[in-house]
Amino acid sequence: MEFFFISMLNGLSYGLLLFMLSSGLTLIFSMMGVLNFAHASFYMIGAYIGYTLNSVLGFWVALLVAPFLVGILGATFERLCLRRVHKFGHVPELLVTFGLSYIVLEVVQLVWGRTAVEFAPPPALQGPAFTLVQNSLNGLSLVWGAAAPELCSAADAAVRVVCSPFPATRGFMMLVALMMMVGLWLLLKRTRVGLVIQAALTHPEAVEALGHNVPRVFMMVFGVGTGLAGLAGVIGGSTFVTEPAMAATVGSVIFVVVVVGGMGSLAGAFLASVLIGVVQTFAVAFDSSLVSLMQGWGWQLSSALQNNSVLKLTLSQVAPILPYLFLVLILIFRPKGLLGTRET
């Protein structure tokens, strides 16, 4: 039971991190029609800038300033490069961001080195947020913070006690992601700026005719989208590892999220992020394979079958490909994505 709770929370927090990334990607895509291939690169820049600011000004300043700096970088890139190729169509736009991802990777390695850097969360976030104590006598109980050692060990050997801590960084990650989601929703639905953005999405000419500067709106959206990636970077970088490979690890998964959720649908991106986060986290935790499953059903298997490389694969080994398998299945059975509305 406590395993289920902790895995669920871990999965949710990972899913919410994915949503922080995919929301920016979706926002940019649905506004400008540009698939920002370098989105995960901005995530990585956010982590590295956060790391540098963290060592100079402290974590909380880094959390506020790094996304802002990343957003400015994103807006500058839009103004200088992306706007120039806008007239050539969507494929060159995608290619420009593809080229950027190469450059960012090299520049990051140039400035911060090729190995992982030590980006530790602040003392307030180190250690567990709460601990679930499973006691075979008293049942399940929850202790805020780390559980006292005497709670986790029973005097009587017959009593089984399991303590499962939930890291505070992951709780903080969930909190920030939820706040960001609410903030984004309020910005889009309840403010004048959001109104202009929504209008520019479907009727750019009409919005321009009303006197709004649509290219500047695009620049701002790109800046905000990349800034959100930067925010995710500071949090993700301090929770997981800050290394040059971090962009590639998360990059392809967020593209899967965007396609599975439905291109350009924020709600779909949310659903798909959480789904993929939870499924992947649970899959990693299970060590069962088809062989053990069939033996569990009481089937007699020959030794050749037991050593079959496909049947022998455990669920945790298959975990890395699950998002992509999910993508293929969605495309076959529901081509427009979970909550998508566009057919192509």
């Binding site: 969507h90 450059i103 990777l105 140039l110 593209f255 396609v259 992509y324 192509t344």
Partner: protein, 432 residues
Amino acid sequence: MALTKTHYEFKPYNVARWLIWSLFTLLLVVLPLVFTSNLSVTMLTQMGVAMIACLSYNMLLGQGGMLSFGHAVYTGLGSYIAMHALNAASNGSVNIPVTLIPLVGGVGGMFFAILFGYVTTRKSGTTFAMITMGMGELVFAMSLMFSEFFGGEAGVSGNRVIGQAFWGITYGPPVQVYYLTAAYTLVCVALMYAFTRTPLGRILNAVRDNPERVEFIGYNTQHVRYLSFIIAGFFAGIAGGLAAVNFEIVTAEVVGAGRSGAYLLFTFLGGATFFFGPLIGAVLMVLAFVLLSEFTKAWLLYLGLVFLFMVMFAPGGIASLIMMNLRLAAFGRLRQMWVAYVGLAVTALMALAGAAAMIEMVYHLQLNAALGPELKFAGVGLNAESLNSWFGSAFVMLTGLGLFELARRQYVHDWDETQVFIEKEIKRREAL
């Protein structure tokens, strides 16, 4: 239905086409006689392989408007199939001559294109790009799971010198592998050129330009994309099979995202809008991977920058630049432009030298700090920790940039003038 001609049709020989193809053949035959060292022969072989791979990629990107991030899946799986076929042949369990091993790779690539293409080609445009990327990741992740087929970390290796020598051909010496590759390259390039002239190739261009209209005239765009994808997969597989025969080892990185990205990058750099563009891209790819990566640690940075500027300022690639200047030459105006070109080249080189010196110094500080701050760049000794070197490099770069801007303005002025002249000349000729 037999078509009988009722009248005589005058069809002149397309002299230019014959000339170009003969030249290409001649080049393929003569090159290893000129560059005889072992390194250059292997590089030439790799160029031949890369040409087939990039052209097959361009069948998707240039002719079909399908931006694929997972083309290495088909070259890579082709490589694996070919390698397993080669090993089976050397065991004696099947009887395939080494000469036909690349074809086996081609069939393998085609098989996987049939399998995966059914899903990927359901969409076009941006979604297609993302799905191909997902497919690439899927196959790469699988390569680490199924070690029987993919050979795990070590990969699968084999030996291409098997069976009896036929007319003295054992494929032991690299030159023989080169000529095998050259033969395949010539045939594949010709076939892929022929493909652009078939009805399918033509309707593929239409699908790229205006899918809605193609649907109107009764074609299924998804079907057209799927068929072309399968054919591209076949040629990609042949390239993979040739690579397997050349290297005699296949590792999991051949299906990786890095390889797919390289195909995209260099096909685009060469020029996706012209048939011969990817050939230039393939040559550049091998040069960059083999020579540039030896020359400087920062080569990926340079590559990314070149690519970015190419997309922004010359989206037709190098091929389009060549064709624009050929047009100039055809109207006899190239001579007036050469001063501007020399000016551009000299000033750009100056700016680049300054920028490159600074990049090299940063890399030196980052990677070779233990070796001391001195480094040599293009024959000039630099000290990465002294202000003089930094000031000098920055000065060279800024001066170069300033002069480049001046040269660029002159060039743009000249260019516009010649274009106006050419437009007028065309009008005048039409009026005649």
